[in-house]
């Protein structure tokens, strides 16, 4: 059946677009939506309902539609789109849904992006009110952004054939848009839905940029864009949605909102059917009846629920042979699939369309999101904005006003006030258009539902929720709309209750016998319409999902086959496998080479903070558990930092650069956190201290040179440096030149071996690294990664913050009482060390574990138990394995662990459940290699 009119609508009838729906081929025109093209082809059943499987059609012409969900299959699979918002294009392939779609299994190849925009006045909605508001603000010189969800401006005017100032409304709209677009500082965004409104004028809007081009969408152009708009003032001209009336069997395809039928006629040249019944509570549906009658639809009957029909409109109907019955209601429908008959009392009227109007709901979603208060308007039967916000104004039918000139006037006032509030007061008066509309809409009867079979009276068509469900909720004692919403799921579908929410509120109020004015409406939350995750992700995917931080020496690591470990956002070399090596063999080789000769690694990711000022020493004394102010210039000290709870938060070395200057190192992952920590104390607690902290993490490339031959290698590249043990003691530093580059060399060790840490400006990192490699060649110098570093330090019992510690480990637990000052009157964490909890002898303490079988590697994280057989649960856990490695130096596996009363248990045998067995382990001190420290000086 062809329901396309002969003329009219803003479609291009000369161009044919081919598309398929549910596997069948159809044609439509540019300007169509999928819904209008389907209706033109006589397809009224789009899908079926989610729970009951009842047929579902098209209820509304726009994004408020509750039923026309489709799965687009080509160009790219997308679930749960409304046929009324899918612009038709050649080759579109879609399928109706039974309430739920499916996500594409393959990645979306399209580009999505985001853009920030700033303006003085944001206008949402390009209907008459929004256009006048935007133009008024634009003429004042303000920066204006106008967003509108349609592909063309006009709003409600798109769905009517009104004349403004004696010419077609489209001409008036085109003139306004043309002036806006030619005004500097004005941005007009079509196909753009403001979907979220937040504090401080922050608004998110989704622009569909190439969806409508289908297969012709240019590559490289973002398909959708999230606009992140920050505005000083906002005018919401978001319009109103027509409200249905609930009656038995109100869910059949062919039952449509009257204004939407009118929109399909005027905008798309599509008729809702050949014979229609109109059911209304107000004047506006008469216009639909008259327009459709003039376009050839047989209007069988206008049913007006009001006691009396409006005389003038009734007369116009009579002149066209349309019967009007006042004081009656639709009591039911028939049809297998599409509606085939309507019951009005005892009368049965055959028809293929039923057009319904129950009044108008102002679209207050964004206003409510912006924390605007809503008020129930009893005359309108709807919640309306209840008061101004200082930066948000509402204009047009979003206020409940339905007269066009009055809406435009509100737009002008709002535009003026918004611009003035943003500091723009000049600008010409925008003339208000006058309409020839025959309908004045504000004369309605508020009618939520027609009594009848409650189980077949649908409130939320998408959720299959009925009047019976609402009454069950109130019958169960629920009184709050929020609770009823959750109990019935009304308003939780894709449409978020745009057409059902108000009716549900009305029925609840009736059932409870309370006034709606006393009810709080349910909360409106973003997004106003569905937004895909792809759009929200934008370009933050793939390589751009999370920044990859690299050191200056990174290219060398890549070129030499390193595998990388993620440490925070850093890529750190994990190990450097040679041909045929796995992690295990590569790490054993790297460890052996380092302990026996010389190895080196890239330590540039360590956090480095320059601390300067007269009180720098005093400040560091407060931050670290040990004393730093006594450190002599030229020397280095290891330190531990605790939180106020006395738990270890970081560790590192402190070198004293000068009388009033220190350089602090932090762990890689905590660099930013520790700088923030320092700033917090300086700014909030100790502003009197003369101290400044500056991050220099990335200024330096840091290369630990480790092993008994490191002295020889350093001597070769630093001829001006006396590297002898006497001249260059452990825990001291020297400024010198390394490979001809100014360098600071620190003698510190994280492996127990003789070791130096060479720091040069990052630009020189690669050159110095290569010079060290060359100088170390005679000694078989071996680059090593984080895994080898971990093994070497674990053999020495050095903890890694975040691996041996969580937020519950004290320095004492780590066996580091020696690093906790007994002399200092105060430091962060000190008071907690006196707590009874901190002094329990059964705290978990760091120890070493040696499995009885030297080949068994304990999985990190394993629990530790006391007995060689597991007792009945609950099993008492003594602690867990924090680090576990095979060791080249020890010739066996070993582990570090936090164990209850660990220090007292040294020598005991405990057990670690590994899969189905209990592995016996001997508890040892945490230092397993070179306990006497003989290797430190080479």
């Amino acid at each position: 059946m062809n329901l396309r009119t002969g003329t009219g609508g803003s479609i291009d009838r000369n161009t044919l677009l081919h598309f398929t729906f549910d596997g069948r081929a159809y044609t439509g025109h540019p300007g169509d939506t999928l819904a209008s093209a389907l209706l033109a082809n006589g397809v009224h059943e789009i899908g079926s309902s989610v729970k009951l499987g009842r047929p579902r059609g098209v209820v509304a012409a726009g994004s408020e539609d509750s039923t026309s969900l489709v799965q687009v299959e080509a160009p790219f699979s997308e679930p749960m789109l409304l046929a009324t918002t899918v612009e038709l294009h050649d080759g579109l392939r879609a399928r109706g849904l039974a309430g739920q779609g499916r996500l594409a299994a393959e990645p979306d190849p399209a580009r999505y992006d985001a853009k920030h925009e700033h303006c003085d006045v944001l206008v949402v909605g390009a209907g008459p009110a929004g256009l006048v508001a935007a133009l008024t603000a634009a003429r004042s010189g303000a920066r204006v952004v106008l967003v509108d969800e349609q592909n063309q401006a006009g709003g409600a005017l798109l769905g009517v054939d009104e004349y403004l100032d004696d010419r077609p409304s489209a001409e008036w709209v085109a003139d306004v848009v043309a002036e806006l677009k030619s005004t500097p500082g004005v941005l007009v965004l079509e196909r753009t839905t403001a979907f979220g409104m937040y504090q401080d004028g922050f608004v998110l809007a989704l622009q569909k940029r190439t969806d409508h081009l289908g297969f012709a969408a240019p590559a490289g152009v973002a398909r959708q864009r999230v606009w992140r708009i920050r505005t000083r003032q906002t005018v919401l001209a978001t319009g109103a949605h027509e409200r249905p009336v609930v009656f038995p069997d109100n869910d059949r395809p062919g039952i449509m909102l009257a204004s939407s039928a009118r929109t399909f006629l005027h905008r798309y040249g599509v008729l809702p059917g050949s014979r229609a019944v109109v059911f209304t509570t107000n004047d506006s549906a008469y216009c639909a009846a008259i327009d459709l009658a003039e376009s050839g639809v047989d209007i069988a009957l206008v049913v007006d629920a009001r006691p009396e029909a409006p005389a003038r409109l009734a007369a116009e109907c009579a002149a066209r042979g349309i019967e009007v019955r006042a004081g009656q209601v639709v009591t039911g429908t028939e049809g297998s699939g599409r509606v085939s008959a309507v019951h009005v009392g005892d009368t049965r009227i055959a028809c293929d369309a039923l057009l319904v109007s129950g009044g108008w709901n102002p679209v207050v979603s964004l206003f409510s999101q912006a924390r605007g208060k809503l008020r129930y308007d009893a005359e309108l039967g709807a919640f309306v904005p209840g008061g101004e916000l200082s930066t948000v104004r509402v204009a047009g039918s979003a206020t409940g006003e339905l007269d066009l000139t009055a809406c435009a006037c509100q737009g002008r006032d709002a535009g003026l006030l918004a611009a003035a509030a943003a500091g723009f007061t000049s600008g010409g008066q925008v003339p208000l258009p006058a309409s020839d509309s025959r309908c004045t809409a504000r004369s309605g009867l508020v009618l939520w539902r027609v009594p009848g079979d409650d189980d077949a009276s649908f409130v939320d068509l998408q959720r299959d929720s009925t009047v019976a469900d609402v009454l069950r909720a109130t019958g169960a004692g629920l009184r709050s709309l929020e609770h009823v919403k959750r109990y019935t799921t009304i308003g939780t579908a894709h449409d978020q209750g745009k057409t059902s929410g108000m009716i549900a509120a009305g029925i609840v109020a009736e059932a409870l016998g309370v006034e709606l004015a006393e009810q709080r409406p349910t909360t409106f939350r973003p997004p106003y319409t569905s937004v895909s995750f792809a759009a929200l992700a934008g370009r933050d995917r793939g390589d751009l999902h999370d920044p990859v931080r690299v050191t200056a020496i990174h290219p060398w690591h890549v070129a030499h086959g390193a595998l990388f470990e993620d440490v925070g956002q850093w890529k750190r070399p994990w190990y450097y496998p040679r041909a045929g090596e796995d992690l295990h063999t590569a790490v054993l080789r790297e460890c052996r080479a380092t302990r026996e000769s010389v190895g080196m690694m890239d330590g540039s990711t360590l956090g480095k903070i320059d601390v300067q000022g007269r009180d720098a020493g005093k400040f560091l004394d407060m931050l670290y558990t040990n004393m730093m102010s006594t450190l002599k210039v030229g020397r280095i000290r290891y330190g531990v930092m605790c939180g106020v709870d006395g738990m270890v938060i970081d560790d590192g070395t402190v070198i004293r650069v000068g009388e009033e200057r220190y350089l602090v190192t932090t762990t890689t992952g905590n660099a930013a956190k520790i700088l923030d920590w320092m700033e917090e104390w300086l700014q909030t607690e100790w502003p009197h201290l003369d101290v400044h902290c500056t991050s220099v993490t990335e200024h330096w490339a840091t290369i630990p040179l480790v092993g008994p031959r490191s002295r020889d290698v350093l001597a070769a590249v630093a001829p001006g440096l006396d590297v002898s043990n006497e001249a260059f003691e452990f825990m001291t530093w020297h400024d010198t030149e390394v490979a001809g580059v100014p360098a600071r060399v620190c003698r510190i060790s994280f492996s127990g071996e003789l070791a130096y840490e060479i720091n040069v400006t990052a630009w020189h990192g690669v050159a110095v690294w290569e010079a060290l490699m060359a100088a170390g060649e005679p000694y078989g110098i071996t680059p090593y990664g984080t895994e080898t570093m971990h093994v070497l330090r674990a053999e020495k019992g050095y903890p890694i913050i975040g691996q041996e510690t969580d937020a519950t480990v004290t320095p004492q637990d780590l066996g580091m009482s020696w690093a906790v000052s007994k002399k200092k009157p105060d430091f962060i964490g000190k008071r907690s060390f006196a707590r009874a909890e901190n002094n329990r002898t059964d705290r978990k303490q760091l120890v070493g574990l040696l499995p009885a079988d030297p080949g068994v590697l304990l999985p990190e994280g394993s629990q530790i138990v006391e007995t060689d057989r597991l007792p009945e649960p609950p099993v008492r856990m003594l602690g867990h394995v924090t680090s576990s490695y095979p060791s080249a130096a020890l010739g066996r596996t070993f582990a570090l662990a936090l164990v209850r009363s660990g220090h007292e248990r040294i020598g005991e045998t405990l057990y670690v459940p590994v899969e189905d067995s209990l592995v016996p382990v001997t508890v040892t001190e945490s230092v397993l290699y070179d306990k006497e420290g003989a290797r430190r000086d080479g």
Binding site: R111, D113, A114, K115, H116, E117, H118, R143, P218, A219, G220, V221, A222, R228, R230, R539, D540, D543, L544, D546, P547, V548, R549, V550, T551, A552, P555, W570, D610, Q612, G613, R614, D690, H692, T694, S695, V696, T697, E698, H699, W700, T761, A762, W763, H764, G765, V766, A767
Partner: protein, 192 residues
Amino acid sequence: MTVSPLHAWTDRLAALAPVLGAAEVPFRSQLTVRVSDPDAIAATGATLGIGFPSAACTFTSGTGRFGDVEVLWLGPDEFLVTASPGLQVTIEEVLRGSLGTARGSVVDTSAQRTTVVLQGPRSREVLAHGCSVDLHPSAAPVGTCVQTLLARTGIVLQVTGDDTVTILVRSSFAEYFAAWLTDACVEYLAVP
């Protein structure tokens, strides 16, 4: 031999040319100065021959004993002095000397960040895809300097000309920045 953070990106940045002139200006001398005493600020500016910025979110520039120098406002008591390559050691000494006994600090942070200059009428627009600061000329005139986020990296952004924006980005984030910038230009390259 020195290697700058974006030396591997020279060609890829240059290839953005139809949309954007983008080039790293490596090895600039950069010194972080912390000082709040007005006299010390004035003295330090006098030493440089370029007054320190007094307004938040601005920078000053001029030619003095160290050639062309810029002083960037980074915070209420934090400034960044930038100059041609190779001057950082001398400038650090001179600045510390001019601070005298006033509270403050001077730190050589030359290699902490690298400098990228973006040039062309699209500069501000491309950055608007990842930078939430208003870059409209009325809000960000020449002389503007802000520390902000570009997508997921911190940057210091200087408006150095009507169509020129200078970005300072942490060295470890420089490649992310370059990758982000290159990707941001994709659409402008696809549809000139």
